[in-house]
């Protein structure tokens, strides 16, 4: 069973990292609070379902359209709501969270509840790893997660847009002086992050069902990972994913599944008390303030 815990811990950690990528890009890297992230994740899932099941659009096309649509909605949210609150982080958080909750509740009220809201997996079957059988879809998610993490790392270090995202988070006025349109970059960052949420939804949601509660869980885990890893550090987010992922798996295996939600919350509290800027955070002013 210990071997199984190690393997599932790894899988859960990579799933956590994949889910967090988009949130980390906007909140961690660009400094834009998008607490509607969970709602956008679920929006992407339901969009794929509607396109595939109701409009009979081919599955891969439905996924691509959903990613584009979710990115568009994210960009719209920033352009028409968050832009007006730029710089006022508390209000950005409240406004974006409100948008996320509206999305989740809208689907609930519209009756999108039930196990029929599932997405087909990409690969079926199980793969034996040692003595543990793992479903192939989870291994597929691990592969996608690694590819996306690498892509994000390269994107934020070696592309103009990625560097601009980091620039507006580090020092916005200097970025402006250098000709970086911070509003445009922030809009792109939120759109990009929303698109990453949609990719995560497309590969992860086939494991189970599309349910509104999943949006709140995604947001909570994403916040925990970014805070523990440190804002502005993709590497930190990956390390934090593994810490929290294994902690959750260990807790579920040896203590009980109903304690796993507390793991993320405890992680946030512990890191804020011990090292507020996070494990690899670059925002030293947080520590200086504390």
């Amino acid at each position: 069973m210990f071997q199984g815990m190690l393997i599932y811990g790894l899988i859960n950690s990579v799933i956590l990292a994949l889910v967090t990528l988009g949130f980390n890009l906007t909140f961690g890297i660009s400094g834009v609070a998008n607490f509607g992230y969970g709602g956008l994740y679920i929006l992407a899932g339901y969009t794929i379902w509607i396109l595939f099941n109701l409009l009979k659009i081919p599955y891969l096309v439905a996924i691509v359209l959903s990613i584009l649509f979710t990115a568009f909605i994210g960009g719209l949210m920033y352009r028409f709501i968050l832009l007006r609150l730029r710089g006022l982080t508390n209000l950005e958080v409240i406004a974006s969270l409100a948008v996320g909750v509206i999305i989740l509740e809208m689907f609930r009220v519209a009756g999108f509840i039930g196990f029929e809201y599932t997405l087909p997996g990409f690969i079926s079957g199980s793969v034996p790893i040692g003595e543990t059988l793992v479903d192939a879809q989870r291994l597929f998610i691990v592969g996608i997660g690694m590819v996306l993490a690498l892509f994000l790392w390269i994107f934020t270090r070696y592309t103009k847009t990625g560097l601009a995202f980091r620039g507006i988070a580090q020092e916005e006025r200097t970025a402006l002086v250098l000709g970086i349109n911070s509003d445009k970059m922030a809009t792109l960052s939120v759109a990009f992050g929303s698109g990453l949420a949609a990719i995560a939804a497309a590969v992860i949601l086939p494991l189970g069902i599309i349910a509104g509660e999943g949006g709140y869980t995604v947001l909570l885990n994403a916040v925990a990972v970014c805070i523990v890893g440190g804002l502005g550090s993709p590497g930190g987010a990956v390390v934090a994913s593994f810490i929290i992922g294994y902690a959750q798996t260990f807790t579920a295996t040896y203590l009980g599944s109903h304690w796993t939600m507390i793991v993320s919350l405890l992680a946030i509290i512990l890191i804020l008390v011990i090292k507020p800027s996070g494990l690899y955070g670059k925002q030293k002013e947080i520590e200086e303030k504390v």
Binding site: F115, E116, T118, I209, S257
Partner: protein
Amino acid sequence: MKQKVILMVGFFVLGIFFTFPHSAYAQLKPGEPVILGVTAPFAAQLESADALKVATMALEEINAKGGVSIKGVKHPLKIESQDTRDILPGVPVSEALLAVEKVILEKKAHAIAVGPSRSEAFLASMDLAAKYKVPMMACHSMTPVVAKKISEEYNKYKYVFRVGINSMHMAGIVTGMAAFLNKEFGFKKAYLMVQDVLWSRASSAFVESWLQKEGWEVLGKDFFPTGASDFSASLMKAKSTGAQVVIPMFDMPEAGILLKQRNAMKVQAVTAGNIVELAHPEAWKMFGDQIEGCLNTIYEAGNIPVKAMPKTLIFHEAFRKRWGREITIQHGVAPAYDSVYILAAAIERAGSVDPDALVIALEKTDYAGVNGRMRFDKNHEIVYGVNPNETAVNIGFQWQKPGKRVIVYPETVAEGKIQLPPGMKPVK
């Protein structure tokens, strides 16, 4: 003398003051509707939405025959509904109570045919029923605490009745199926996977205690919060400890993931418990033969067509005609239909909508409903058993090829025998 006159007038005025609202409330004008409240989380829970639909169906059927007769005068039934949202995580109980109070105070309901769904909310609304003296029926809430409160404080909580099952009844279906698995195949090792809410905790405690008393080995018991979507740790433990029977108890949609993970991890054990999705008539289309051999529960017989209970066949046909689809939920829907009929009959027996008279009339209920013979015990709970001619009935069924729900329990209504899933061998 003057003092005596003043005293008499004073008593007369007081008498009018205390009895007038009561007696006025109890006397409907001719043609004035009898108002039944339906307070449940319709938007968030299909069983509540369908409870409203079947209550409406019952109302339409009764009104088509002229309505409810009170002392020879016909009164139509009318439903006033409010969404309590009590099933949603994070929604406080106080919000559900606001909805119930609105139906009582603003909509002037004479009785509530369907109360809040979650036990926590229903227990809290019992105090409202007591405060405003409004008979209230539980169709979804399953906690045994309802009966306990009625038995301990009868005069206060006498207005509350339960038409649906409680968690002990549900546990009884599970233990009934476990007994059969032991008798036929020699299985004696079980692993419990339970949703962390009141009804399932209570049911699982009963099941665990029964299993231990009957000499079973309970290899483990895990609780999952509502919304949990990963069951791999528990399934790993069930597999590594050699469980022969996995007993799940869930009413959340995410529980369907358990079956996907069970099959991926190739856990060789019979699944015999309660997963809401498995009760759905289309579950085979969603999960395919992954659910072959899974044993599941229908809490109240009326929620599934039962050949041995003709009223269920008529009820399901009527629902299909009225709403264009099947009943897909195993709990709380059929009781809501019977609840309206039970209340209508009680109002006719009482000859009034006076709450105290209604309570006495409800206690004398003996109604042949879609769930079987409906009679209340001394704690205002419908009596459930194994013979529909004597009691209301719960159902255990198994998914069998080519994608059919075969009723296997109780024997009085069974339409087939339990079969082992592919790849599993009996121990004896």
